[in-house]
Amino acid sequence: MFDTLALASLPDEDEALRPKIRAVVQQAIADMPVESRAKSWLGFDAAFSRLLGQEGFLGLNLPKSYGGQERGPFARFVVVEELLAAGAPVAAHWIADRQSAPLILKFGTEAQREFYIPRVCRGEAFFCIGMSEPGAGSDLASVRTRAERTDKGWLVNGQKIWTTNSLHSDYMIALLRTSGKPEDRHAGLSQLIIDLKAPGVTIRPIVDLTGDAHFAEIFFENVELGADALIGNEGDGWKQVTAELAFERSGPERIYSSVVLLDAWVRHLQAVGRDDDATLAMVGGYTARLATLRAMSIACTARLALGESPVVEASLVKDLGTSLEQELPIAIGDDLGGHPDEPVDAGLYRALLYVTQIAPSFSLRGGTREILRGIIARGMGLR
């Protein structure tokens, strides 16, 4: 079962990107404290994203004709892995590069491609994903925010919530109801590009439990959009969102959210010289799981590289990956708290509590554990 997930290796030409991206990253994070790097992909730095664009590390999957690198998913795996290993601040371009630009490439018009994709590749156009609403989280088909047709284009009214990076974004790709009622479920949903500077858009930050405001709620009051705001065909929104989620769920970001903390903890153990059996077994156990998840994530990337949309496989790797990501801060907390006479570096302490507090979000963002397991069960023929 799920035989499509089999050991695959990263092609040499993509592996060859590693030293160069590493050099760029090292320079950028040289002064970043561990607790900032532990924020992983929530760290925001527009200048860094532009630098990545200049150096050719954005749009790795996108055609050269739109400013991309035409390298494919394996190249992106290598670059993303290096960014996350170091805890580089990637939030600015993350969503645009990972899913908005590929979505526009696949379903958008030629004019949309020419307008948006080159700027994404340069790290100059940032996107957010407008799927969730107060009444539509797991049940995405129940979105109520509407886009009505007008003679000039569209008129949008409603609200989105939990929209990551919206405070700093230029555009939102929103899942909206363009016809029918919420009861009509998948039918009548479409994706539209909303310029967040348009009149009638109000963005209100939501502060999270760690004190950060990386997501927000967004209100649309008679927001006027041009006819060219629609991506793909009207009514195809559900189909497009499903394809988009395979991009969102399949990458190495779903296994490495706690890896900066893991490394800080390993350095702590090395510094204090603790090497009793229990400690060694714990380090080894997490190392083995990390290695296996990496193999699974590369296996998933190999499906993307074949042009498939590995929705079920990505769900499987994401659920297992976020489990590891969430277990690490709890286990490391017990380990450090279990050795109360060992001095703990102030940065490691802050990183530990930061990751511990934010970790529950790992299995929520991009679809909850229960929903993913439902997708896997369907893939197993149980539904």
């Binding site: 079962m1 799920f2 997930l5 089999a6 050991l7 290796s9 990263l10 892995e81 290993a85 490495y256 890896v259 893991l262 490394d263 390993v266 153990l269 090395q270 090497d275 059996d277 400690t279 060694l280 077994a281 714990m282 380090v283 080894g284 156990g285 997490y286 190392t287 083995a288 799981r289 990390l290 290695a291 296996t292 998840l293 990496r294 193999a295 699974m296 296996a299 499987l316 659920d319 297992l320 229960e370 993913l372 397991r373 439902g374 896997i376 069960a377 197993m380 023929g381 149980l382 539904r383």
Partner: protein, 326 residues
């Protein structure tokens, strides 16, 4: 080479030869020679042996799926061990016997549990620093007393007479752990298939139990664990017969660590029928538990892996890349 070209005929053969009835018969003491004879005839036992020595000269990465298939079919003989032993013997320029070869790691004067020890004519034994291929009888094999188990309790008071081989880097236990990890991945996969099929058939409250969301959630986790087992085993095999410590440790650690969860879900979904002897579930569950203990459980390999990891200044990702993906 296309892996399926190799796997499919092997899998078909095992399907026919290693039926649940046959497995039960051999576990019950029936002679294994007829089954072994067919396996010998198939030529698969020499898959790893170099071509110049009469084998197929395949890499372990290619043979890994076959080793998993042995677990999928609960093959009641040390086939994987024999394939690897023949490779090691060939590499040392030695001839090999026709019969099944088990692996044993022992200290002189101490009992050791040898998987498939009751159905082996020979034992590749690592004892007090020596590696020899000896008659199985030299270890006076005795049943362990565990129901249905083909493992034997064996003991040598000194290194026995036999064909002497050069020591293996990392030790025989590491090679044996690869056999066990791949077998576990195969048995785990069979359990997943059986359990999913059963969930689709068994009706309670007017619908198949697999339609119950609680079961779907548990079965999805089971699938994740089974896929992790398979990938971990593949990582182990990718390193070759004498793999790096990291490759072996990852394979055996992950397959052993998830074994309990996999077996528990398989049993939970099956309800009472899963406990019964006549239902086939137990053939795979018993192996999963036995192989988890054999050749080092998860914490054994975790300790070794953790020690190697802590000795390096690399980041975790760099370390696993260098040790396992190079």
């Amino acid at each position: 080479m296309d892996r399926n070209e190799l796997l499919e005929p092997f899998d078909k053969m095992l399907e026919a030869l290693s039926t649940p009835a046959q497995v039960r018969a051999i576990e019950g003491g029936a002679p294994y020679a007829p089954l072994w004879e067919e396996l010998v005839q198939s030529g698969f036992l020499d898959a790893l042996v170099p071509e110049h020595a009469g084998g197929a000269g395949l890499a372990l990465a290619d043979v890994g799926p076959l080793l998993q298939a042995l677990g999928r079919h609960a093959v009641p003989l040390p086939v994987g061990e024999t394939m690897l032993a023949r490779y090691l013997l060939a590499a040392a320029g030695q001839a090999w016997p026709e019969g099944p070869i088990a692996f044993a790691v022992a200290r002189a004067g101490q009992d050791t549990v040898v998987p498939s020890g009751l159905v082996a004519s020979h034992v590749l034994l690592e004892c007090d620093g020596a590696l020899v291929l000896a008659d199985a009888g030299s270890g006076n094999p005795q049943p362990t007393g565990v129901n249905g188990s083909l493992a034997a309790r064996m003991r040598w008071d000194a290194v026995p007479a036999g064909t002497v081989l050069p020591a293996i880097t990392g030790g025989l236990r590491a090679v044996a752990a690869l056999v066990r990890a791949t077998g576990m991945a195969g048995a785990a996969e069979r359990l997943l298939e059986m359990t999913t099929a059963y969930a689709n058939e068994r009706v309670q409250f007017g619908k198949p139990i697999g339609r119950q969301q609680a079961l779907q959630q548990n079965l999805a986790v089971m699938a994740e664990d089974v896929v992790a087992s398979r990938l971990a085993a593949q990582l182990g095999c990718a390193g070759g017969v004498v793999a790096s410590l990291a490759a072996v440790a990852t394979a055996k650690s992950v397959t052993s660590a998830v074994a309990g969860r996999i077996a528990a879900t398989a049993h939970a979904v099956h309800g009472a029928i899963g406990i019964s002897e006549e239902y086939d579930l137990q053939l795979y569950v018993r192996r999963l538990y036995e192989w988890r203990l054999a050749d080092g459980s998860e914490s054994y390999w975790n300790r070794l892996l953790g020690k190697a990891r802590l000795a390096s200044a690399d980041t975790s990702i760099d370390w696993v890349r260098a040790q396992l993906f190079a």
